[in-house]
Every structure is written in structure tokens, then in C-alpha cells.
């Protein structure tokens, strides 16, 4: 991206001024290096988002932003329903509420290392992962409705997970406003065998070691010490969410014209929030959020069962669960006035600052944990929401490393076996059903997440708290 077309607003904040049909400016966060390496398409897509009706303040791109479909991945935009604002299926994406959760274990890394092979094999045997894998849970129509309405709360009520988990999940584990009757028969059928499955691609379950602490006070509030073992799960709403994304992308792409919305790009498929289609989508998309929350809760339960067998002293309370691909109604200050906005985050993490009433008591002073996945080899980061993030980008932060090369390039460059052996030599055990999948997810295929994390911290979007490194990785 050409830096000359941007106005620098801060050390890590750049503005593309309004041109043409843009209703607000586009703002990109990142260091000079990150911005220079960023695809031109990010700015083009951010600028297109800025043309949508009812957009408030600016169209944002996080430091890990890359070329997506419609919205950039790493895009954040808020819309006001009282000013003709829209909801966009393209602004949420296919994997609705794909997200990350992190659990404590009460164990130290050396406790894991003593049983590392056994634990890796047991987790791989218990957690359904990869293309075509199926879960053990089959829901009838009424149970499916209850799951779509109840999310992780439903899972806990049915014996997967514990009540204490719920306050550590966004929306207390249950997305309000879900309307399961808006979820198609096809989406339900696609989910039939997929409850409690990890999926494939960049989804994973990792047992990790806390490697570094950058902010002692917040780390203490989060319950993290160097050498502690934690478990992190990255996955989403499985087939149901993918089908909802697919169906509404098509419906909104063809319906926008009827609502008098000129789409600069078909993929910006959207409908007015206050329209029949907008309301149907919100009801279905919120159901998919609940599906993702229930799915991660079930996977948590399976993980706890494995730990109970192998490391009975372990307790796995939830640190926090974040979602990346969502549209949520939130109250934000705009020109000093609180306004109820529909905030789209596509490949971006909500990052509530200290004192926010939606945070559980134990985390309220520290700010929301922001969980950022890296690659299999480089490790992941835990950050905390800041007070400034509200005014910077509606309390949003980055979500991951982003790919440095395509899957095809990675598959040509590495063999799965070679990646597994190299990581094993560094003490990281990989278990996956697909060697090609591992090659495509090789650490070298991802950008260095450090620069993204440092830019997120320097921009004030979220504060760097801890680095975690994998000991075991179950890869879909």
C-alpha cells in the first residue's frame, strides 16, 4: 500500500481521506512496514465499506488486515439503524463467530511435558478434527432450536461445560435476538454431524506454555504466570454458519438494488437493518453465533474429560472466549452522545476497556482478554482491551497473524512430515489427520505475528499482556 496516499494520524494510525462516494474516511492501523506490505486491496475494500449507508465515524482496518471479500479481513465498521444503516453478510463472513477461547489448567508446563505424547494422542483421539470428521452429538429439530437460541448456555444446561464458564464468554455465552426459525433446513442439515467438531484449515486446539509476561498487573488479574500451561481452541460455527453466510451473501447481493443500495462490490451484500431481510439475517446470524459458542463449549468439555483421565489434578476454568466474525449491537460514544450501533467485525476482536459493564467482575479492572492466534510454531498472544480502543475503533483489535503465502505455495514448499519433525525437534507435538493440511499451515506460511501485536499495542487498540507457545497442537 502506498503510504503517500494516507495521512498519518498517529504512530500507528493512517487515514485515507474521503473521496468520491465515501461517507466517512477509511482508517488503517499499523506500523509503516505493515502498511507498506499491506495489499492495496485492503484500502480499496475499506474505502468501499465507507460508501455504505449509515456508516458511523470511519471504516477501520486492523494491523493484520488483508484482502478479503467485500470487507477486508480485519475490517471494522459500525452502522446506525436510525440513519439508514445496513447489516452486511459480507461484513460478517462465512464462518460466523469463528473465535478463540483460552482455558487455564492449574498445571505447569513441566506437568504437560511429563505426559506430552500421551496427552497429544488422547486429545487427538477425542477431539474430532479435519475434513469429514463427525461429532458424537446428534440434535433433533427441537434440540437444534434450543441450541441455536441458547448457545454455550444451552451446552452447559445439557452437561457440556460448567456454569462458571458463561460469564467468561461474550454475551455471557448466549447471543440475544437469535431466531432459530430463520435458519434454513439446509443449514441445519449441514450441522447434523458437526456439533463438537474442530473443523480444518487454520482451526486448532493447542496446549500452550506461558512464555513471557509483558504486563504483570494485568497478567495477574488474568491468572497467568510464566511457565503456566493453558489450552486454547480456535474454531467457529461449522457447517451451519458457513451455510448461513452463503445463503445471505446471495440473497443480499441480489436484494440490495430493491432497497436502493448501490453496491460498489457485489460482496458488500447488505440490507437495511430496519428491513425484513436485514431482520431475518440478524436472527439467523445470531443463531449461528450461538452455534459457535455451543461448539466451543462442547469442545471444552471434551478437553476437560481428556485432562481428567490423564492429569486428574488439572482444573480447566475458562479465561475468556472471543468471537471474530460478528455483527453486534453495542452502545458507543459518537460526538459525545451514546448511540446504539451495529458493529461489524470481520476478522477482528472485540476489545472492551477497563471498567466496561459487560466484563465479569474479576476482569473488569484489567480490561477484556483479547486472544490472538499465531502460527503453529511462533506462538500466540494474550492482550487486554484499553480505554482508548473505544474512541479509536469502537473497542476493536486485531485477530491473528495472517498468511504470508498462499496454501498452494506452502504445499509446494513443505511436506507435512517435515513440518511435524521440525516442530517435534523444538518440543512441539503436532497431531493432524492431514499431512497436506499441515504443510499448508506451516509456520513459515504465516506472517510474523509479533509486528502485528506490537502495532496493536502501539496504536492503543489493545495492551500486550502475555505470549504463549505451543506444546501440543491438534490441527484440523
Amino acid at each position: 500500500m502506498d503510504l503517500n496516499q494516507l495521512i498519518r494520524r498517529g504512530p500507528c494510525e493512517w487515514e485515507a481521506p474521503m473521496t468520491g462516494d465515501m461517507r466517512v474516511p477509511a482508517i488503517v492501523f499499523g506500523t509503516e512496514t505493515l502498511i507498506a506490505e499491506m495489499d492495496d486491496k485492503v484500502l480499496e475494500q475499506s474505502s468501499n465499506v465507507a460508501k455504505l449507508p449509515g456508516i458511523v465515524r470511519a471504516s477501520y482496518a486492523m494491523p493484520d488486515a488483508h484482502w478479503g471479500y467485500g470487507f477486508p479481513i480485519g475490517g471494522v465498521a459500525a452502522f446506525d439503524p436510525e440513519r439508514g444503516g445496513v447489516v452486511s453478510a459480507g461484513g460478517v463472513g462465512f464462518d460466523v463467530s469463528c473465535g478463540v477461547r483460552c482455558m487455564h489448567t492449574g498445571l505447569r508446563a513441566e506437568d504437560i511435558l511429563a505426559v506430552q505424547e500421551t496427552l497429544a494422542d488422547a486429545l487427538f483421539a477425542r477431539i474430532p478434527a479435519g475434513v469429514g470428521s463427525t461429532g458424537a452429538i446428534r440434535l433433533d429439530s427441537a434440540q437444534m432450536d434450543a441450541m441455536l437460541a441458547g448457545g454455550a448456555k444451552w451446552a452447559v444446561e445439557n452437561g457440556w461445560g460448567v456454569p462458571a464458564d458463561l460469564e467468561r464468554i461474550e454475551e455471557r455465552g448466549c447471543m440475544p435476538g437469535a431466531r432459530p426459525e430463520m435458519v434454513s433446513a439446509l443449514a441445519r442439515k449441514r450441522q447434523r454431524d458437526e456439533m463438537g467438531t474442530l473443523g480444518s484449515g487454520n482451526h486448532y486446539l493447542e496446549v500452550q506454555r506461558v512464555a513471557e509476561i509483558y504486563d504483570e498487573a494485568i497478567a495477574a488479574a488474568f491468572g497467568l504466570r510464566v511457565g503456566d500451561a493453558v489450552v486454547t481452541i480456535h474454531c467457529g460455527s461449522r457447517g451451519l454458519g458457513h451455510q448461513i453466510g452463503t445463503e445471505f451473501l446471495r440473497r443480499m447481493a441480489t436484494a440490495a438494488k430493491e432497497y436502493g443500495i448501490v453496491l460498489p462490490d457485489r460482496e458488500l451484500a447488505c440490507a437495511p437493518i430496519r428491513s425484513e431481510l436485514g431482520e431475518i439475517y440478524l436472527g439467523a446470524m445470531r443463531s449461528a453465533i450461538n452455534c459457535a459458542l455451543a461448539n466451543r463449549e462442547i469442545l471444552t468439555h471434551l478437553t476437560r474429560e481428556v485432562f481428567a483421565d490423564i492429569l486428574p489434578a488439572a482444573r480447566l476454568p475458562l479465561l475468556y472466549d472471543v468471537s471474530h466474525n460478528t455483527c453486534k449491537v453495542e452502545t458507543h460514544l459518537v460526538d459525545g452522545e451514546p448511540r446504539s450501533l451495529f458493529v461489524h467485525r470481520k476478522g477482528a476482536t472485540r476489545a472492551l476497556g477497563p471498567g466496561h459493564p459487560d466484563l465479569p467482575e474479576a476482569l473488569r479492572q484489567a480490561g477484556q482478554p483479547v486472544l490472538i492466534g499465531g502460527s503453529m510454531g511462533t506462538g500466540s498472544y494474550i492482550l487486554a482491551g484499553t480505554e482508548r480502543s473505544e474512541s479509536l475503533a469502537f473497542s476493536s483489535a486485531c485477530h491473528g497473524a495472517g498468511r504470508a503465502m498462499s496454501r498452494q505455495q506452502a504445499a509446494r514448499r513443505w511436506r507435512g512430515r517435515q513440518v511435524v519433525d521440525e516442530l517435534a525437534a523444538r518440543g512441539i507435538l503436532i497431531r493432524s489427520p492431514s499431512s497436506r493440511g499441515i504443510a499448508e499451515e506451516a509456520p513459515g506460511a504465516y506472517k510474523d505475528v509479533v509486528e502485528v501485536i506490537d502495532a496493536t499495542d502501539a496504536a492503543g487498540l489493545a495492551r500486550k499482556v502475555a505470549k504463549v507457545e505451543p506444546l501440543i497442537c491438534i490441527k484440523g
Binding site: S200, H242, G245, L249, R250
Partner: protein, 139 residues
Amino acid sequence: MQEHWEHYEHGADIGVRGIGATMAGAFEQAALALTAVITDPSGVAGNEAVDIACEAPDPELLLGEWLNALVYEMAVRRMLFGRYQVEIDGTRLRARAFGEPTSVERHCPAVEVKGATYTSLRVAPTADGGWLAQTVVDV
């Protein structure tokens, strides 16, 4: 002009492109490119046939419908397809996909496809009298 498929790069996702003598041939090749995201199409036996029908107001949206129908059938049947026969009549498509149940051991499936996007979506005649059909799929 030789019928073929290829992948093209798109950030975290993958572009699938089919080149055919006809629009239907390009759709068949694009479907093979879709299979190739997951596994080598030549390693998929065509023992079972699945009939697929869809329609859309224009050829580009029809390509999206076709690929999404395949994503759906692969997901709910837990199958992979290695060969396709497509007929297109105006805004309607009828097809038969030949494949077999997914085998983790034999097919070594790399990644599941979540859906076909409209990014770089294009269905158009080529300079040498054939057809091109392409879009990016989300993985």
C-alpha cells in the same frame, strides 16, 4: 484451447478457475479446481452419482450457486467428487457429480471449503473461443 482447471492466489483463500470449450465445460473444470483445493481429483473414484440442479439470474451468480451446491453436497454426504457433467440452459444448470465417500487415509483431505465467494467472480468467453469461469472460495 484445451479444457483445464487452475488455482490462483487470493490472500488466505484460493481462487478456482475453469477453462472449457463451452460455459458448461468451464463450470465442470471450475468444479474440478474446487475438488483440488481439498484433494487430488484424479484420486477420487466416481462410483456414486449425485444429481444437482440450480438456477440464478446471471451466469456469474449461477457459478456461485453451482460451487455452493457442491460444497453443500460434499459436506452433508461426506463425499468428494472427481468428475462432473454439466448442462446449462439459460439461467438453469443441471449436473451430475461422480464421487465417493471421503477417506482420510486415501484422500488426505487438506482443508474443507466453507463457501464460494463473489470475489473476482467472472464467467466470460475467452479470446480463443472458449469460456472461463472463476471465483475465490473461502477455506
